[in-house]
């Protein structure tokens, strides 16, 4: 079979697998976040931590929960790294430097999982499991909780209560992430991945030379890394490492896990608002963007234009033979369209256009289909903006999902939408002004600029993938990228919760002849246009200097 046909069949299999899980998982999550029944273990947990699961919170308290929980998470993760020598299974790797420890703590708590360290050299098994794996779960559960709170804002009327953050957080873990992750981890090992508590295994090659291969408890972290759209690898090479992603089966399985929850959450939305079409509209926009960007990346990687790629005969630098071009492009587009950032090939070595696609995918605000929870609230914010723009054009008060969008709602949505571009452009601009940045680049010319833009786009969007050649160990990069992750995560979350609080207080407005129907293909087109237009107006100049210049050279 030709590589193209095989690649298309692979994409087809992926889409079928996602379609099969769409209804059951989407409806399951809708029940998880609406039922008032607690499991026995959950009750025990609530008693242990002394929270009343039946008391609902205002948006401010809900937000205080998110912020407080994230704050203590950063502190604990920082301390675990700094005190590593005191922990068991530290593998003699010593205390993590303060700069790396801060950056890594922020990175994993904000669901970014940007890695400025080489795990094989820096982290022992305990920090990986008790520190990073935990944040892989809970940062994803926080994203889902915020998305659900926003959906409740649309569903509820005349209340100042959005739900209980601790209940939403706990249920996201106990009823969604943990059961799927446990089964998936066993499946991943059965398919070939590593799950070992040993430091490594000593081998004697055919040449008689003794070498040590590093081992790690990889599978348990690998699955939640994908399922929770986190992305931080237990090995430096991330999902390109054969122990994390040994073959084409595991590769497809990992891509499936990346897309599973973000896709199914659109069904959850449709179920919760009682109009499935609303979910389909959002999903179609996500799917169209994903398919379009995948096509471009796939074509670009098959038609390289750089001098080195031409000299080699194919763009195989930074790619694994077992994945080749189609599976690498598929992974790259899926990981940057969500907030995952795991990679099965080095993005820095993608072609000018292919790398530009991964960059653009993040700059669209990661809505194709977006991170766990973050994708849903991201696209809902864009939908609010789209309805508002449409309202301006025809001169009517905009309404979405039965709620009027007044000054407060649109302001909150605008803040949620503009936070990321501000962080990305300011960060990139300041970094480019510094003479020291030139020395941090791994590649000359337009691609060097792309490396810096990619770093802030990735951290500002909580993606975590990198044009990894950029040396980010300086205090400047460690701290500004850390701040970019914090602002890129919590500014939109606060704005989204404020939006939810404001929506919940309104009464429902019945749809009239003057209401823009948002369950239609027409609205899907408008939403798609809004997403593309906002990103294009904001980032075209920067993209022109980086990847577009490289692609046209």
């Amino acid at each position: 079979m030709s590589p193209t046909l095989a690649g298309l069949a692979q994409v087809g299999l992926l889409v079928v697998a996602l379609a099969v899980c769409y209804r059951p998982l989407g409806d399951h999550m809708a029940r998880v976040y609406t039922t008032d029944r607690h499991w026995k273990v959950e009750r025990a947990l609530y008693r242990l931590v002394r929270v009343n699961p039946d008391s609902e919170q205002r948006w401010t308290t809900y937000a205080a929960g998110v912020l407080g929980f994230s704050f203590v998470s950063i502190v604990l993760l920082y301390l675990l790294q700094r005190l590593q020598p005191l922990l068991p299974l530290d593998l003699g790797r010593g205390a993590v430097e303060p700069g790396i420890a801060f950056n890594t703590a922020v990175s994993f708590v904000t669901n970014t999982n940007w890695q400025s360290y080489s795990p094989e050299a820096v982290l022992g098994h305990t920090v990986q499991m008790a520190g990073l794996t935990v944040q892989n779960f809970v940062s994803a559960a926080v994203g889902m909780a915020v998305a659900v709170a926003l959906v409740r804002g649309f569903v509820r009327a005349r209340t100042d209560r959005l739900g209980n953050f601790w209940v939403d957080l706990t249920r996201g873990v106990t009823r969604v992430l943990l059961p799927i992750a446990f089964v998936a981890a066993i499946v991943l090992v059965a398919l070939g991945a590593v799950m070992s508590l040993a430091k490594g295994v000593q081998i004697t090659g055919v040449d008689g030379v003794q070498r040590t291969l590093a081992l790690a408890p990889a599978a348990s972290q690998e699955v939640i890394k994908e399922l929770g759209t986190n992305g931080g690898g237990i090995f430096n090479a991330n999902s390109a490492h054969p122990f994390e992603n040994p073959n084409a089966w595991t590769n497809l399985f990992e891509i499936f896990l990346i897309l599973l929850i973000p896709v199914a959450l659109t069904r959850t939305l449709g179920s919760m608002v009682g109009d499935r079409k609303q979910g389909y509209v959002l999903l179609s926009v996500m799917g169209l963007l994903w398919a379009a960007l995948l096509s471009v990346a796939w074509w670009a990687e098959s038609h390289p234009n750089g001098v080195a790629s031409l000299a080699a005969g194919a763009a195989m630098e930074g790619k694994e033979v077992r994945f080749g071009i189609p599976s690498t492009a598929l992974f790259a587009v899926s990981t940057t369209g969500t907030s995952t950032g795991a990679v099965n090939g080095t993005h820095d070595s993608l072609t000018g256009l292919g790398g530009g696609v991964t960059l653009l995918n993040m700059l669209l605000g990661e809505v194709a289909p977006g991170g766990v929870g973050a994708g849903l609230y991201g696209i809902l914010v864009m939908a609010v903006i789209a309805v508002f723009l449409a309202g301006l054009m025809v001169g009517r008060t905009p309404e979405y999902l039965g709620k009027k969008l007044g000054r407060r709602e649109v302001t909150a949505a605008a803040i949620a939408m503009l936070a990321m571009p501000t962080v990305v452009l300011l960060g990139t601009g300041v970094a480019l002004l510094l003479p020291s940045t030139t020395g941090a680049l791994n590649n000359p010319g337009a691609h060097g600029l792309s490396e810096v833009l990619y770093a802030y786009a990735s951290t500002g969007n909580n993606n975590g993938s990198a044009f990894g050649g950029l040396t980010v160990t300086s205090d400047f990069f460690q701290s500004t990228l850390g701040v970019a992750m914090l602002l890129g995560r919590f500014l939109p979350i606060l704005a989204v919760l404020a939006l939810a609080g404001s929506l919940a207080q309104q009464r429902k407005v019945p749809a009239t002849a003057g209401t823009l129907p948002t369950g239609s293909p027409l609205f899907a087109g408008m939403l798609l246009g809004t997403v593309v237009l906002v990103a294009a107006l904001t980032f075209l100049p920067a993209l022109a200097l980086g990847p577009i210049a490289e692609a046209l050279a």
């Binding site: 407080g68 203590v72 089966w249 750089g306 195989m316 694994e320």
Partner: protein, 211 residues
């Protein structure tokens, strides 16, 4: 003032929730997964798919380790082994690789340093195999993403077969048969790309040479 107390109260609750989650997700969950992988059938995978010959761990079938032949030091054409792809974890253009760190070069397709490296590698491979440089395939002159890629393309394996047969005193057809045996196609006929596993192929060559 009231909002500050609220924030502090929520932070306290956050700390308690985090500690419980750390025990559940950071200790119980990974240990439970680890426990299940102790079952026969999963255990070998979990410990790195190690290939043993007479109880000696010879390598992992998942990890590409570029073998070093001391005879090839002065004369590369006297090298007995199939070679993996170049690795970015070494300074020398064609390895041997260091297997502890993993990672790629992160060089861009338009990087002139990478172009030079590619051309050097092409020259070195062509000289070692005594073939036309134009016949050296792309995977032989580019570094993988992991630096540990166990696979090479069928074209690169075929290119090396003649030398390996000659230097090990095995019939060339036999080596070509071994290459075919260690070639893996696409899973289900559609997933991933075909490749030849260098680690298991070299072990088979070694076995054949000892006969």
């Amino acid at each position: 003032m009231k909002s500050l107390t609220n924030l502090l109260r929520q932070t306290g609750a956050g700390l308690r929730v985090l500690l419980v989650m750390t025990v559940l997700l950071g200790v119980l969950y990974p240990l439970a997964v680890w426990g299940v992988t102790r079952l026969p059938g999963l255990r070998d995978n979990a410990e790195g798919s190690v290939v043993r010959v007479n109880e000696t761990a010879m390598g992992s079938e998942l990890i590409g380790v570029d073998p070093v032949d001391p005879r090839a030091k002065d004369n590369p054409t006297a090298d007995r082994w199939f070679h993996t792809r170049p690795s970015a974890t070494v300074t020398d253009q064609l390895g041997p690789d260091d297997v502890l760190p993993s990672g790629g070069s992160n060089k861009a397709g338009d990087n002139d340093d990478l172009r030079k490296a590619v051309e050097e590698r092409r020259g070195a491979v062509a000289a070692r195999e005594q073939v036309d440089p134009a016949s050296v395939p792309a995977d032989a002159v580019t570094a993988s993403a992991s630096g540990l890629d166990p696979h090479i393309s069928r074209a690169y394996a075929d290119l090396q077969a003649r030398r390996v047969a000659r230097e090990n005193g095995i019939a060339e057809q036999r080596v070509r048969d071994l290459v075919a045996e260690h070639t893996r196609g696409r899973a289900l006929g559609v997933l991933g790309e075909p490749g030849v596993n260098v680690t298991t192929l070299n072990l088979a060559v070694q076995r054949e040479a000892k006969r």
